[in-house]
């Protein structure tokens, strides 16, 4: 069945449906019908992947966009709803994942969600003045007057009872890690409740993007999260390329795929090594860090940057890669699997299995309500991978299989990531075998319009929506995988002991920068 037909079955004929530029369908709903429509979608196994707002999209005023995916459809459904004023009914009781999105929209635009169960501010901390909404068009980006917090602390959920105590951790942590605050409520050593307060690193990236030329905005996409540089740059460029109808050359698509998979490999290697370090076994972790460093050096030889920054460009790539670097990469990958296998033998170690097994379960029943994504979801049995569900670029031609594991614990995430590294190696080797020798850059002319683009980063689904007006970026919305998966960790740690928190955290590998934007 086509998505169109299913929508007609659900909502009747005479729908206002418009086809988007990148395999999405925009369905217009009236403000008073939003909650009903979304409940209907929930009952029919649609999953909310993003909710965001844009100002002056059609006419003056706010438009909300609710994006959904459903197993079996490669299209993304976007409910589009223009508001008469600045309030609308909350859908967080239907999709709990909407909670953070709604708070984000309220902070950014001042749109209120009636009936929401959590109305605290999200990315605007206490230092921001009341009634400040940075994403409003009336606010011109620039320095603002901050306020001294009145001393009222951010209200965390209070867990009371005999023997319950709180452990506040962060924002500055005991290591070379990004900042965030964790509030544990603990009985003895067991975690009874965890609440996280993020957005310490909020840099205002979405506002910075406004008014930029699309080609200048690639830098903003890259800085969303340094270790997802390629994924986010490709996602942004793909959106603009769809809008402006730019045909990227085959060689550029192939090389982008190589970079995307290299990024996945070094990211996973860091996770595997990090998990082993977190159970106090640095000697076992060393082989993974050695391989990871070697990938960074391959990246540098190929692109001039260890994080592959500045290589992806609108219309293809900024520059071609040296032939010698490609030959070296092939040779390096030839022996890689064997070396990884040797390092991986580590997961036969008793003390390691003892710490990994049954630790940090991500329960399958949370996967859809929180839209858990990427390897974390796959290690809990969810068949999801953007490269296969909503294929883009070269992945359209590949015959990939989604790997899943059922054990949902740290060990499952460890094993899954190790297996997926081998898959990525295979992908790169296949691409290198058939590497096209053509151009790497297609000249283009920017057109106005909007499109949604999704890429599978190392952490999971990274969703980008770009609106171009008069050749400039009018609205750029990014939602990385970490934004969703952070909310899952609050549940994954329950019943575990506090010393296992770093391990669980590492196994889920969440980006603070990519969440805080």
């Amino acid at each position: 069945m086509k998505l169109n037909d299913e929508l007609e079955k659900l909502f009747g004929k005479k729908l206002e449906i418009a086809a988007g530029l990148n395999n999405e369908l925009y369905l217009t709903v009236q403000e008073n019908q939003v909650q009903k429509a979304i409940s209907r979608l929930y009952e029919n196994n649609f999953e909310l992947i993003l909710l965001f707002c844009a100002e002056n999209f059609v006419d003056k005023g706010f438009t909300l966009f609710y994006a959904f995916e459903k197993v079996g459809y490669s299209e993304i459904l976007v409910l589009q709803c223009s508001l008469a004023g600045n309030h609308v009914a909350s859908v967080a009781t239907v999709f709990p994942s909407a909670c953070w999105y709604e708070r984000e929209v309220t902070d950014g635009f001042g749109v209120e969600f009636s009936g929401a169960f959590d109305k605290r501010r999200l990315f605007l901390h206490e230092t921001y003045p009341a009634d400040f909404h940075p994403l409003l068009k009336s606010f011109k980006n620039g320095k603002i007057e901050t306020v001294t917090p009145s001393g009222d602390e951010y209200p965390f959920k209070v867990v009371e009872g005999e023997g319950v105590y709180q452990i506040p951790v962060g924002p500055v942590h005991a290591g070379i890690i990004e900042p965030g605050h964790f509030r544990f409520s603990v009985i003895g050593e067991t975690i009874f409740n965890l609440e996280i307060k993020m957005f310490y690193k909020h840099r205002g990236l979405e506002k910075l993007a406004e008014g930029l030329k699309p080609q200048e905005c690639v830098k903003i996409a890259e800085t969303v999260s340094g270790d997802e540089t390629v994924a986010n740059a490709v996602a942004f460029c793909s959106a603009v390329e769809k809008i402006s109808n730019i045909a990227v050359s085959r060689r550029a698509l192939q090389l982008r795929t190589v970079f995307l998979e290299l990024e996945r490999i070094y990211s996973y290697l860091g996770d595997l090594g990090g998990m082993i370090v977190d159970v106090a076994y640095p000697a076992g972790a060393s082989p993974f860090f050695i391989l990871r460093e070697e990938i960074f050096r391959q990246n540098e030889a190929l692109t001039g940057s260890r994080f592959m920054k500045g290589i992806v460009a609108l219309g293809g790539l900024c520059k071609d890669v040296p032939e010698q670097a490609l030959r070296n990469l092939s040779a390096f990958l030839g022996s890689f699997s064997k070396r990884l296998g040797k390092a991986e033998g580590i997961d036969n170690t008793f003390s390691l299995i003892d710490r990994f097994e049954t630790t940090g379960n991500v329960k399958p029943e949370l996967l859809i309500p929180l839209h858990v994504t990427g390897p974390v979801a796959r290690a809990s049995g969810k068949t999801t991978d953007t490269r296969i569900d909503h294929p883009y670029g070269l992945y359209r031609e590949m015959d990939l299989k989604v790997r899943t594991l059922q054990n949902k614990d740290v060990l499952a995430r460890f094993s899954l990531k190790a297996e997926e590294i081998l898959d990525s190696i295979k992908i790169i080797q296949d691409v290198l075998c058939k590497l096209d020798s053509g151009e790497i850059f297609a000249p283009y002319q920017i057109k106005d319009g909007y499109a949604l683009s999704i890429v599978e980063s190392a952490r999971g689904q990274s969703v980008h929506w770009v609106l171009l007006k008069n050749g400039l970026v009018d609205r750029y919305k990014v939602r990385t995988a970490s934004f969703c998966n952070w909310q899952a960790i609050e549940h994954a740690v329950l019943g575990n002991i506090v010393p296992d928190f770093p391990l669980i955290n590492k196994s889920m590998n969440l980006s603070y920068a990519g969440t805080d934007l």
């Binding site: 500055v172 005991a174 290591g175 990004e178 909020h202 910075l208 969303v224 050695i290």
Partner: protein
Amino acid sequence: MAKRILSVFEKKATENFPFKDAEFEAVGLSLKKEVDKVFGRSLAIRELDSGSDNSTEIELVNLTAPHYDVERFGITFVASPRHADVLIVTGAVTLNMATAAKKTYDAMPNPKFVVAVGDDACGIGILNNSYAVLGGAEKIFDVNLKIPGNPPSPKDILKGILALTKKISEIKK
């Protein structure tokens, strides 16, 4: 089981790869001399992320990984600011982090030094016009040294730390 026990006598993974970067080793050894002289053989660094894109942190962590392993040169990354001689600041200072950043610095004992690592911390990144950031690290700290780069490589960072110790050594004279 026997194989596992015997594996203790095998060469370790870190012994199995050739180390070729002579320049890095040379920088490390001169740094060790300076650290011995100026900091009594150990230089304790506390890293503070005030709003980076996380790539600079990754390079700092890499300094402790097998290819670099800077503990050989007397450099340690410490968990508490109370143990630190140097504060390495990464990223632009966001409004949301400004208070926590200042508290971290205040918790360090004297004498203390601040190094800004990465373009954003050095105040030359792409974020300066944002409502959400104050700017580079010097907006809230007296910065003793800047190590630009997006992000700077582990070698660049180590060279920077060497430059800092030399600078301090000059002051000491």
